[in-house]
């Protein structure tokens, strides 16, 4: 029986080492403040306090921009860690952390990405340097002496000329709020130093990226760091790149003992969230519905530290173009620092924010043209051999199949009232590298890879694919936890790439095993990337493709929106693990439903106002509408990633369904208040 059912599954919160201490963090109550002094005289003996002097020799870190110190000075958001404590118990550590005295000098702060790019806005960072290595696959383009840590552009055709050809032009502005990943398991990490070598047990999607960043931080070789990644109790992007690892490693170095940190729920809300964004879309079409020009501007709030904000802004930018043939395209996406907690990878990686804007705008355009939203999409969709706005030629394209399936599921053509559609193009990490090994044992095989298990089922997919290739039972294939000492290199477990990339690498490894007899190694790379100044190149070697349809009813008295039916159609190519694939679709749709209807982190002067699971609502069983979905397969097709595709199209499908009833809501979530406001307009 699966250990997740019997409760035997162990996570990083359960990791333990003899003699380990427990960490607690001293967090800034101010959104932006210089740290004048840290006093630890009131802290009882037996506790270890990490102060700015203890980390003075440690370099900055950050996966795409090196803009973060182990301890913050200045503190750049409410909850930024300015000191840390280790003690024999978690309760003692937390009590001691309250006794650390910190003197601050408050600085002006900014909480909105548009205000942060206005003249005279307070600067969140004076200096920051771009990172190198595999965590940053695009050239980062900061704008000096501003809060812009990266700007991404697409220049395709000539939008001036394109709009001159347009008979109809519409322009709309949309907003999406910050949101919490809220994995049920909080962040947890345990660090231990032995003879100058650091071992970390951390629930992370990025063991190798984390190792590289920490090696730079501590000034040691990457091989001097070992990262073991136990299964996660959910992540959804929250457990990517360095989170607690630098803090526990620095505490353990000072304490001379292993140190473990486990966050509480309120701390989760100041650790990593989803990027709030403002997206403006302007689109022009000929009278017959042919799209001729599109402009997309994204203001992407990356919070106090860039994290992977440059990557998110890039993907938000090109996903906002949509899966359409458009000869003239301009995109400008800015990743902007503010004094909010850092924002990072979140299931969908920026696609949801711009697809919410661009697919809602498609329905506005359809209404202006007097063409059915389904027909307007269908006639402009990309097909094999078409050129996308990045200049790349599209291949293995199935957008029309997805859209048609979604529309049919709600009977869209027969009666579109109260119904809405959305079609999605989302890229996969490009470039990247995935390696895997297979060893023969007396009873079966051991498959080692750094693909991390977070509930998406990668262990089971590797067992099933391994068994098929090796001609054995899945139970004979052992898949140990990722360990940078013994697992071959993998870029990271993100962007729904593992089944596709590791599956291909596994095929190579099995071939190699057949040659060697004992051990086989397989590696695949996908090459490409975009020029950040022109947006030309290869955005993705593998396209995630999906569509959603929603059917809704609205109470015009109360503003209550009821989703009656939600359907997603996702291109799967070939399904490896059917229950796992279904769960990914269902889970993505439910997270999309929460995004559409109620999930929002509320801030008051930079302070999270709903940092608990009572005030921040997650979808429960009773929130489910009629939920249906399908996995579109084709004979002989390649495996396609499925981890995120069904999330981004859900909010626009619901928004478009509501708009078909004359209620035009531009900001998520679609609360009763926003429905009533839209009815009043």
């Amino acid at each position: 029986m699966d250990p997740r059912v019997t409760g035997e599954q162990r996570y990083s919160v359960d990791a333990a080492r003899p003699g380990m201490l427990h960490a607690a963090f001293v967090r800034s109550p101010h959104a932006h403040a210089r740290v004048l002094s840290v006093g630890a005289s009131a802290v009882p003996a037996g506790c270890v306090v990490l102060t700015p002097a203890d980390v003075a020799d440690l370099g900055p870190y950050g996966c795409q921009v090196k803009d973060q110190g182990v301890l913050a000075d200045p503190a750049r958001h409410v909850g930024d860690v300015v000191a840390a404590v280790a003690a024999p118990t978690r309760a003692a550590a937390r009590a001691a952390a309250r006794l650390v005295e910190v003197e601050y000098e408050e600085l002006p702060a900014v909480f909105d990405p548009l205000e942060a790019v206005a003249r005279g806005a307070p600067l969140v960072h004076e200096h920051a340097a771009a990172s190198a290595g595999d965590a940053v696959s695009i050239g980062v383009r900061p704008i000096a002496r501003t809060n812009v840590c990266h700007r991404f552009r697409i220049r395709h055709g000539d939008v001036g000329e394109g709009f001159a050809q347009a008979d109809v032009v519409v322009e709309e502005v949309f907003r999406t709020p910050g949101a919490a990943h809220a994995p049920m398991e909080p962040h947890a990490a345990l660090a231990e130093w032995e003879d100058g070598r650091l071992t970390l047990w951390s629930g992370t999607q990025t063991p190798f990226n984390t190792r590289a960043d920490l090696a730079g931080l501590f000034g040691i070789a990457e091989e001097q760091i070992r990262v073991v990644a136990p299964p996660m109790g959910g992540s959804f992007g929250a457990k990517t790149f360095v989170r607690l690892e630098a803090l526990v490693a620095a505490l353990a170095r000072k304490a001379g003992k292993p140190v473990k940190a486990v966050l509480d729920r309120a701390e989760e809300f100041v650790t990593l969230n989803r990027h709030p964004a403002v997206v403006r879309v302007r689109i022009g079409a000929r009278r017959d519905g042919t799209l001729v020009a599109k402009e997309v501007d994204c203001w992407v709030d990356t919070g106090a530290y860039a994290d992977c904000g440059p990557g998110v802004a890039t993907k938000m930018g090109y996903a906002g173009v949509g899966p359409y043939r458009i000869p003239h395209v301009r995109v400008d996406a800015l990743a902007i620092y503010t004094n909010l907690p850092s924002n990072g990878a979140f299931r969908g990686y920026g696609a949801m924010q711009s697809v919410w804007a661009s697919e809602r705008t498609m329905d506005v355009l359809a209404a202006e043209l007097g063409i059915s939203p389904l027909e307007l999409r269908r006639m402009n969709l990309l097909h094999d051999g078409d050129v996308f706005a990045t200049g790349e030629v599209m291949h293995d394209v199935h957008f029309e199949d997805c859209l048609r399936a979604a529309a049919d599921a709600v009977g869209y053509e027969a009666d579109p009232r109260g119904k809405g559609l959305c079609v999605l193009l989302k890229g996969m990490q490009t470039p990247s590298r995935a390696a895997i090994s297979v060893e023969r044992t007396p009873v079966g095989y051991i498959v080692r890879s750094a693909s991390c298990e977070m509930g998406q089922g990668v262990r089971r997919s590797l067992k099933l694919m391994g068994a098929e290739l090796l001609g054995c039972e899945p139970g004979q294939v052992e898949v140990p936890d990722p360990d940078t000492d013994s697992s071959p290199y993998d870029t990271r477990t993100t962007s729904s790439r593992s089944t596709y990339m590791m599956g291909r690498a596994l095929r190579e490894a099995v071939r190699d095993l057949e040659r060697d007899g004992e051990r086989g190694l397989g590696e695949v790379r996908n090459e490409g990337g975009l020029d950040p100044d022109t947006g030309q190149g290869i955005a993705s070697t593998h396209w995630h493709q999906g569509a959603a349809a929603a059917q809704v009813a609205v109470d015009r008295e109360t503003g209550r929106l009821t989703v009656e039916h939600l359907h997603a159609a996702v291109y799967a190519g070939r399904v490896v693990n059917r229950p796992g694939a279904e769960l990914q679709n269902e889970g993505s749709m439910l997270m999309g439903l929460g995004t559409a209807l109620f999930e929002e982190i509320e801030f008051a002067d930079g302070q999270v106002a709903n940092a608990n699971l009572s005030d921040y609502n997650l979808p429960a069983a009773g929130d489910m509408p009629r939920l249906t979905h399908e996995l579109i397969e084709r004979e002989g097709a390649e495996v396609h990633g499925l981890g995120e595709t069904a999330l981004p199209p859900v909010p626009p499908a619901i928004g478009n369904a509501l708009a078909s009833l004359g209620v035009h809501v531009t900001e998520l979530p679609i609360t009763a208040e926003r429905v009533l406001e839209a009815l009043d307009r």
Partner: protein
């Protein structure tokens, strides 16, 4: 203080502080299926059965268990029909919340409305479709 109780069918003594929650005391006993998640009794991940009734271990003082019967999933046999139903229906992804759901379902009565009964348990992976299927399997 010493808390004497029946834990997973056997007499046991928990050594707990007077202000300590059952969650911490059970974890110290090695019952790591009981997991702190929201810490305010809304998510159900730390659900245990107290005399057969589901309670949040994060809101129950260890002292309240004195003289009572406490069950965690570690106390269920592998042949337990609810465990089997969850396994067979693939009603989990990361598995963090699964023990809480299993125990909630253990306490359901015939005729209980499924979604209402599951209202106190959250699954962020969003496995509700298959969890409902698991509950229906138990019923049949």
């Amino acid at each position: 203080m010493r808390v004497e109780l029946i834990l997973n069918g056997r007499g046991a003594t928990l050594d707990a502080r007077t202000d300590e929650m059952l969650l911490e005391a059970l974890r110290r006993e090695g019952l790591l299926s009981v997991r702190e998640t929201c810490a305010i009794g809304v998510c159900g991940a730390c659900t245990v059965l107290l005399d057969g009734e589901p309670v949040s271990a994060c809101l129950t003082l260890a002292a309240q268990a004195a003289g009572h019967e406490v069950t965690t999933v570690e106390g269920l046999a592998e042949s337990d029909p609810v465990l089997r139903a969850f396994d067979e229906a693939h009603a989990f992804q990361c598995g963090w919340c699964t023990p809480g759901f299993v125990l909630t379902v253990k306490a359901m009565q015939p005729g209980d409305e499924i979604r209402e009964a599951l209202g106190g348990n959250l699954c962020r992976c969003g496995c509700y479709v298959k969890i409902e299927e698991a509950v229906r399997r138990c019923g049949s």
